[in-house]
């Protein structure tokens, strides 16, 4: 695990040598790539849309901003207005009480736009499938481009998914239009 400098120093206990961390190495490589992408002006604005999450997925979305993931280095940033968004990051099993809110966010996001269903709930309703209060899965309301499963998915997994989008954006650049 790559450790920030302020985390290095004496430990509570004598620590055995850490095994090389594949995830950290992958993140490092990704960072370099991201720097190149940012130079090419490829960046994506993300809007979080909560459709009834338990807050577990939000914890991991917030973690994307910590020093270990630092998603801004990849040219990814969170915005709070659909009009500025390229990507809707949807969490939660789409409760009936939030269906209108999701539709409004989608309508207000300009084309071209992507929708990413983050977490088992957003993928297909997760454990809440079949509840009277739940529609079950983002895709039942708006078209979904990418699903990231997990309950909740780890920040590393979310980041990998978002980088796939970045690559698509940088490559053929053909996101779904309205």
């Amino acid at each position: 695990m790559r450790r920030p400098r302020w985390l290095q120093g004496p430990r509570l206990k004598a620590e055995p040598a850490e095994p090389a961390d594949a995830e950290a190495r992958a993140l490092m490589a990704a960072r370099m790539e991201a720097a190149a992408q940012a130079r090419l002006g490829r960046s994506l604005a993300l809007l979080h849309v909560n459709t009834g999450s338990c807050n577990g997925c939000e914890l991991e979305l917030r973690a994307l901003s910590n020093v270990f993931y630092d998603l801004e280095r990849f040219g990814l940033r969170f915005v709070d207005n659909p009009r500025q968004a390229d990507v809707l990051l949807v969490t939660g099993p789409l409760t009936r009480n939030l269906t209108v809110a999701l539709e409004q966010a989608w309508d207000a996001t300009p084309d071209p736009k992507w929708v990413v269903a983050v977490g088992d709930c957003a993928v297909d309703g997760g454990v809440f499938k079949g509840s009277y209060a739940v529609v079950g899965g983002t895709g039942l309301c708006v078209p979904v481009d990418l699903t990231i499963s997990g309950c909740p998915p780890s920040p590393g997994r979310i980041l990998t998914g978002l980088r796939t989008l970045l690559e698509a954006h940088a490559g053929q650049g053909a996101p779904r239009s309205g």
């Binding site: 807050n55 409760t95 009936r96 739940v134």
Partner: protein, 497 residues
């Protein structure tokens, strides 16, 4: 007449570890009045298909007091004329079970936003919903006031709630919150399932309190079945619950620092929370330890290097604590937080507020010290502050991180060997239990019928934190609203059920 003398006259059923008294309507109301005079608090109010229930806390006897009243012709006597905070519960009871609180303070729907296919989905025979008018918030009294509607979708990687602020210049005159957006129908999904199957829903009531809700649910189940889990399970539960507390407090410290522009604190607390989440993943197989605590014990044992990895992460956090304490009390952040979001002790007590919010205004109850197994031998220390403001809440969060580090050290040091769970007998019974979440006490009540969940209600601290935050927001300036919301850590999914 005192509360206890009213109870003595009533019939009772066993609701382990207490008795649940069944009161005639007149005594149900009399008890509510007596409870105020006796200094009790109303912890929760809910229902099942044929009765309404209330859970009081008697701080002198240190006992929870569950009581019930039969619902007759769809009606039961309202508690909200005596406890204004009970109005949300009454609206929820009406939306889920269809029982009406006679003379209740507020008849508007709460969880039911007019979108469900069913009316009163938990009633004996739910009816198909017909098109209705969406519920309206209370009218604004005067034209000179301005309305500010925040939410329901905040776009801030937070939970969903709507907050309607009535402004007079920069000052908030009235704050009305609206919840229920993330209602997922958890109670209906849990009913009729085995405790192990239902535990998955308890674990998903509130993601950053998943261990606490799972623990309260498991303890209530074990109380109902009258079993005690193996000592190793109890010690691992303490470890998970305290890791969750540290992680949750770090997350909150990071979020508040981010909002207040204290970037160095945000970066360090966010990084430390990540270190701990990774340690939890290594030790227990899940970053949030979701589904780790189950009825009968714990689902996973520590991995071989689990204890080592946890202690190392805690060492990293320990090393930063004195820096964090200084930075927190340093000029920049403290000035931002001092005096902001000040909660009064009397109001917090009436609403039954516990956790950091309660302890920051002098209310010392921490259910770990009284009710939760595994803590007594570790003698948890509880700090309180008199100030009631955002600064006091942050200081307490820092204190609690350090105390939780000590508790985990103690639990892991004397970790007993042996099994980590036991099978639950297929019995009938009723139980109540609690756990201390990052936001305060979580209570679960449930009934088992031949080993299956017959009825359940989980009380999340959100039920009392939102009404407290509403009153605190009134008199604040609109610029401070976001900070106040974060400082109370207002949850939606937990109370939305």
């Amino acid at each position: 007449m005192s509360g206890h003398s009213i109870l003595q006259a009533a019939e009772a059923v066993v609701c382990r570890p207490w008795l649940r008294h069944i009161l005639p309507p007149h005594d149900w109301s009399a008890l509510a009045r007596a409870s105020v005079a006796d200094g009790w608090t109303l912890l929760a109010h809910w229902a099942d298909t044929h009765a309404a229930h209330a859970l009081y806390f008697d701080p002198v006897a240190l006992a929870a007091v569950p009581v019930s009243v039969p619902v007759e012709h769809g009606l039961y006597p309202a508690l909200s004329p005596i406890y204004p905070g009970a109005a949300w519960y009454e609206r929820m009871v009406h939306d889920l079970w269809g029982h009406e609180a006679a003379s209740g303070a507020d008849p508007r729907p709460w969880l039911d936003h007019g979108q469900w296919p069913l009316v009163a989905p938990l009633s004996v025979r739910p009816q198909t919903a017909t098109e209705g008018d969406p519920p309206q918030p209370a009218d604004v009294a005067s034209d000179s006031l301005m309305l500010l509607q925040l939410g329901p979708v905040w776009g801030e990687r937070q939970e969903v709630a709507a907050l309607r602020l009535t402004l007079d210049g920069p000052f908030i005159r009235q704050a009305e919150s609206r919840l229920g957006y993330s209602h997922k129908g958890a109670l209906a999904l849990m009913r009729g399932k085995s405790p192990r199957a239902a535990a998955r829903f308890a674990a998903r009531l509130s993601g950053d309190a998943t261990v606490a809700h799972s623990l309260a649910f498991a303890l209530a189940t074990e109380a109902a079945a009258d079993v005690q889990v193996p000592p190793r399970a109890t010690a691992l539960r303490v470890t998970m619950a305290e890791i969750e507390r540290i992680a949750g407090h770090l997350d909150n410290l990071a979020e508040i620092a981010g909002l207040a522009g204290a970037e160095s604190i945000r970066i360090r607390c966010g990084g430390l929370r990540e270190v701990l989440a990774r340690a939890a993943a290594t030790a227990f197989g899940h970053r949030l330890m979701m589904d780790g605590v189950v009825p009968g014990g714990v689902a996973v044992d520590l991995t071989n290097d689990g204890a080592e990895v946890i202690l190392r992460a805690l060492g990293d956090i320990s090393m930063q604590m004195s820096w964090l304490r200084q930075a927190q009390d340093g000029a920049a952040l403290f000035v931002h937080l001092a005096g902001i979001g000040r909660a009064g002790t009397a109001l917090a007590a009436t609403l039954g507020v516990g956790g950091v919010a309660g302890r920051a205004c002098g209310l010392g109850l921490d259910v770990r010290t009284v009710f939760v197994p595994g803590y007594a031998a570790l003698s948890p220390r509880v700090a309180v502050r008199p100030d009631g403001d955002a600064a006091a809440r942050q200081q307490l969060r820092i204190f609690e991180i350090e105390e939780s580090i000590r508790l985990i050290g103690g639990a892991l040091q004397s970790l007993p060997d042996g099994p980590i769970s036991l099978p639950l007998p297929q019995v009938s019974g009723e139980g109540i239990a609690c756990a201390e979440s990052i936001r305060g006490d979580v209570w679960h009540w449930l009934q088992l019928d031949h080993g299956q969940i017959a009825a359940i209600f989980p009380r999340d601290p959100g039920w009392c934190l939102w009404p407290l935050a509403e009153r605190v927001l009134e008199n604040a300036t609109v610029d401070d609203a976001a900070l106040i919301r974060l400082s109370f850590g207002l949850p939606s999914s937990g109370p939305d059920l």
